[in-house]
């Protein structure tokens, strides 16, 4: 099936999210859509999937004009979508999930699960998915769940598959498997639109690359283009992808974690007796696939989550039983993985957000009253220093772009008198320009002799920042290794295989 998107324009108020976008997808082609957050990729896909109506332009499938008023119609026309967050019911089996919404029925309207099982088996065998139709979703690893999502689309005869940031939740090995699956599907005639911001993957799998910037198709690139070239096209200027850093000047042991065990909200053991220590002037990166206990580890260090057993010390001070305020006052800075939830108050101004954890004393408060002059002075200073692009300090945080929001968080945490910086996913959902800047800041903190812990699921980030790398899997460290360790080895460790 051939898909043509012709001159699609989609406006939101005065903003043109998609500006006269045209592209063609040939049968069996893997087209990669490359662009930064907010470039208009998701808008375009939502138009394609019937979730949004374009203001101008047309969608043609096999030269016939289509009008989708909802995802149902798009699906019927042969378009399937695999979202970044899976739309699966955890307690249902694979077969049940696959047929959900268009269940095969027997003679008296009863659910025909056998037909469903056969359907899953057929698709799974054909593409080598290796999926058991009777397995419950919650028992499957993430990579397998993603394959179930793909089966769901194929079961509805999708000829065009849209994969939206599909590798965000995968280990490097699972990513490789997904690439294989994509190639297999394309050989069988399924066209794929692959949305990502990871240049390496694009280079590996795409037949053609389309770069979108500020709502426009800026260019078409060949997968043979270098990562640097692709990044420049994406951002619109030269970018330096490598963070240069001097050799670490390692000082005294500052953060010491011993036999730490932490439970999650459902009393599942998420951190499983971890011990490690980090020195001044050193970056320890904790790598690993999302959901292996990194979040709980960071929350436990900060005092946000109760420690089940074990101990935490910062510069000799025991923080095992401390509350958040005591931990912050002991000199721990925290960049949370979800800035909108834990890092910012969207309805507060930038100036207010910059004093979020500073309301208890100087310099922001005089007694029980806020020192507004001081607050505004500090805000102006930090906005300059941390290159926060905003009309003014009184702009609401929610009105900023992701990158600038993150800079507000980074500015606040780094401007305090820190001993230890814990940064969880410091550049998630952040534009390339801001990634460069935030990485520089983190390296600067390390060079200034701070103890830095980075928690990241992005290997690129881990490799460019770390002095040592700890790989976390199911609540334990598989190992703590040198920063020169190869990608392949790290990938294996992320899947739980000790080095």
């Amino acid at each position: 099936m051939k898909l043509e998107v012709k001159n699609i324009t989609k406006r939101f108020g005065t903003l043109v999210a998609n500006d006269n976008i045209s592209l063609t997808l040939q049968p069996g082609e893997i087209l990669s859509l490359l662009g930064e957050n907010g470039a208009g990729k998701s808008t375009l896909m939502n138009v394609l999937y019937g979730l949004l109506q374009p203001d101008e332009g047309q969608i043609l499938i096999d030269d016939k004009v289509q009008k989708f008023s909802g995802p149902g119609e798009a699906m019927a026309a042969g378009i399937g979508m695999v979202h970044q967050h899976f739309m699966l019911i955890p307690v249902f089996t694979v077969a049940e999930n696959v047929v959900l919404g268009h269940e095969p029925t027997g003679k008296v309207g009863n659910l025909d699960l056998n037909a469903a099982r056969k359907l899953v088996k057929k698709i799974s065998d054909r593409f080598g998915f290796d999926i058991d139709p009777d397995a419950k979703i919650q028992d499957l690893p993430v990579g397998a769940q993603q394959r179930v999502e793909i089966i769901k689309s194929l079961a509805r005869d999708a000829k065009i598959l849209v994969l939206d940031e599909p590798t965000a939740v995968l280990t490097p090995q699972e990513t490789d498997e997904l690439m294989e699956i994509m190639r297999g599907l394309s050989k069988n005639g399924t066209s794929i639109i692959f949305i990502t911001h990871k240049l390496r993957e694009v280079q590996q799998v795409a037949d053609r690359i389309i770069v979108i910037r500020q709502g426009k198709v800026v260019s078409e690139a060949s997968p043979k283009a270098s990562a640097g070239e692709l990044a420049s096209l994406m951002v619109g200027r030269e970018v330096d992808l490598n963070t240069s850093k001097k050799a670490a000047k390692v000082g005294v042991e500052t953060l010491v974690v011993k036999d730490l065990t932490v439970l999650d909200d459902r009393n599942q053991q998420m951190v499983n007796g971890i011990s490690f220590s980090v020195h001044d002037g050193e970056v320890l990166a904790i790598a690993g696939v999302q959901g292996n206990g990194q979040t709980e580890l960071a929350e436990a260090i900060l005092g946000l989550r109760k420690i089940h057993s074990g101990s935490i010390q910062v510069a000799g001070q025991d923080l095992t039983k401390s509350n958040v305020r005591q931990v912050l006052e002991a000199g721990v800075g925290y960049i949370p993985e979800d800035r909108k939830k834990d890092g910012l108050v969207g309805d507060f101004t930038i100036a207010e957000n910059l004093m979020l954890d500073g309301s208890f004393g100087k310099p922001f408060a005089k007694g029980v009253q806020i020192d507004f002059a001081k607050r505004d002075e500090i805000a102006e200073k930090l906005i300059k220093e941390f290159d926060i692009r905003t009309p003014s300090a009184t702009t609401l945080a929610k009105q900023l772009s992701g990158g600038n929001q993150q800079k507000v968080v980074v500015a606040r945490e780094m401007s305090r008198d820190l001993k230890v910086l814990i940064a969880s996913q410091p550049t998630r959902g952040v534009d390339v320009g801001s990634i460069e800047f935030i990485h520089e800041q983190i390296v600067a903190a390390r060079d200034a002799g701070k103890t830095v812990v980075i928690i990241s699921t992005e290997l690129d980030e881990v490799l460019s920042l770390a002095d040592r790398i700890a790989v976390m899997y199911r609540g334990r460290f598989v190992g703590i290794v040198d920063a020169k360790t190869t990608r392949e080895k790290l990938g294996k460790m992320m899947a739980g295989i000790a080095a």
Binding site: F12, G13, T14, G38, H85, M355, F360, R389
Partner: protein, 414 residues
């Protein structure tokens, strides 16, 4: 990530509910103004439809249509004219004192509404829905009544002691809600509703006790004595007006609320918890304790309103002294967008309704119309889409909003 919201039906449903709640509590002045206007318009329809003269005029519509139509106008003018004359200035009065008396009456009725309204507004801004102002007032009344009828003290000091007793008793009542919420996770809406019933029974019980609140030589009716002369809120403008010192307390409460919420570090933390409790927690704030303090301080404002009621009565007080203020306070807080200035204006509006309803009745308009107007205003505020549909206002949907912020961000970068 944000785009994903549109795709997940469950999530977007939740988003809609929270965004509407935010819209309701945020109190956009334009929307509130339009809600009031629409409330008055529909109130006018009620007046016209049930007015005898209009009905009669329309029976003769065939012979004199212009008379029928003008009768509509005259009825509305008479009705709302009477409201104005009864609550702002009476131009028909024969001397200056009676001309401006309506406005002082509005102030007198507005004072307790404003004080209790500030209390509810405070909890709104911490993200809590405190509908317990009624109960907190009743408990405050018990304290004020005990001090003002059973204790002997010099003038002014006695009054201040009674006010303080009301505030402290109410705060304790409010604190109970906070503690139940933070320690057991009980929802404040349920707890406050139930505590309203408890408070009513408690106050009635205390009013029946001869050694506590029951009036001297009192019988079976739960009723107290008049507050001692030394404890009464004195008249502010002399004997020609009923306006008393309660207004001063209201003004002080407004100033304190404004300082607390906008200038102090407590208010900053209150607002932080209200907007984003998990960010507040990560910033080292004890969210549970903040709830307890917010509910206690909120109840303190209701206690002030209780003192205003209990220390200004003639002829002893019964449970009816609460006068529905605790419930109206919720409306006042909503209408005022939980801001000091807004609450003052909303309290004045509702005070004017109370002051003007008698003159409306004299003018032959049923004062129930005002009840309808009041209820409709709240209804419209609680359902923003109605107001948007009526006035054809644009929807502040997430997409438009997101686009607007992207546009802004794009501009900045250029």
């Amino acid at each position: 990530m944000s785009k994903k919201k549109d795709l997940d039906p469950v999530k977007s449903g939740q988003d809609k509910a929270t965004s509407v709640l935010h819209e309701i509590m945020s109190g956009d002045p334009v929307r509130i103004g339009l809600s009031i206007l629409l409330g008055f318009l529909i109130g006018a329809v009620f007046m016209v439809v049930f007015d005898k003269n209009v009905i009669k005029a329309f029976e003769d519509f065939g012979t004199d249509p212009s008379y029928a139509l003008s009768s509509i106008w005259w009825t509305v003018q008479d009705g709302y004219g009477a409201l104005f004359a009864g609550s702002v200035i009476n131009f028909g009065a024969d001397n200056f004192v009676s001309a401006i008396r309506p406005f002082t009456e509005t102030l007198r009725f507005a004072a307790p509404l404003i004080m209790a309204g500030l209390g509810v507004a405070l909890t709104f801004r911490v993200g809590l829905f405190n509908i317990g102002a009624t109960g907190q007032m009743l408990v405050g009344l018990a304290g004020a009544t005990f001090v003002s009828t059973r204790l002997q003290m010099p003038i002014i000091i006695h009054m201040l002691a009674a006010v303080l007793a009301a505030v402290v008793c109410a705060m304790i009542w409010g604190m109970i809600v906070g503690l139940l919420k933070s320690r057991t996770g009980a929802h404040e809406v349920i707890v406050t509703i139930m505590l309203n019933y408890v408070a009513l029974s408690l106050f009635t019980y205390l009013l029946r006790q001869p050694n506590l609140l029951l009036e001297e030589n009192g019988g079976g009716t739960p009723k107290s004595d008049n507050p001692d002369g030394t404890a009464r809120l004195g008249l502010l403008l002399g004997p020609d007006f009923q306006l008393h010192y309660g207004l001063i307390f209201a003004v002080l409460a407004v100033v304190f609320y404004w300082w607390l919420m906008e200038k102090s570090t407590f208010g900053f933390r209150f607002r932080m918890v209200g907007h984003n409790p998990s960010a507040a927690r990560a910033a080292g704030i004890k969210v549970e304790n903040t709830f307890v303090w917010a509910l206690a301080i909120s109840a303190g404002f209701s206690g002030l309103a209780a003192a205003n009621q209990g220390l200004s009565v003639d002829g002893g007080l019964t449970t009816s002294i609460e006068a529905g203020i605790g419930f109206d306070a919720i409306t006042v807080a909503l209408l005022g967008g939980s801001r000091a200035g807004g609450v003052v204006m909303a309290g004045m509006l509702f005070g004017a309704f109370k002051a003007g309803s008698a003159t409306m009745q004299v003018a032959g308009v049923s004062p129930e119309v005002l009840g309808v107007v009041k209820a409709l205003i709240v209804l419209f505020i609680a359902a923003p889409p109605i107001i948007r549909a009526f006035y054809r206002l644009p929807v502040p949907g997430p997409k438009v909003f997101e686009a607007a912020q992207q546009a802004k961000a794009a501009k900045v970068i250029k």
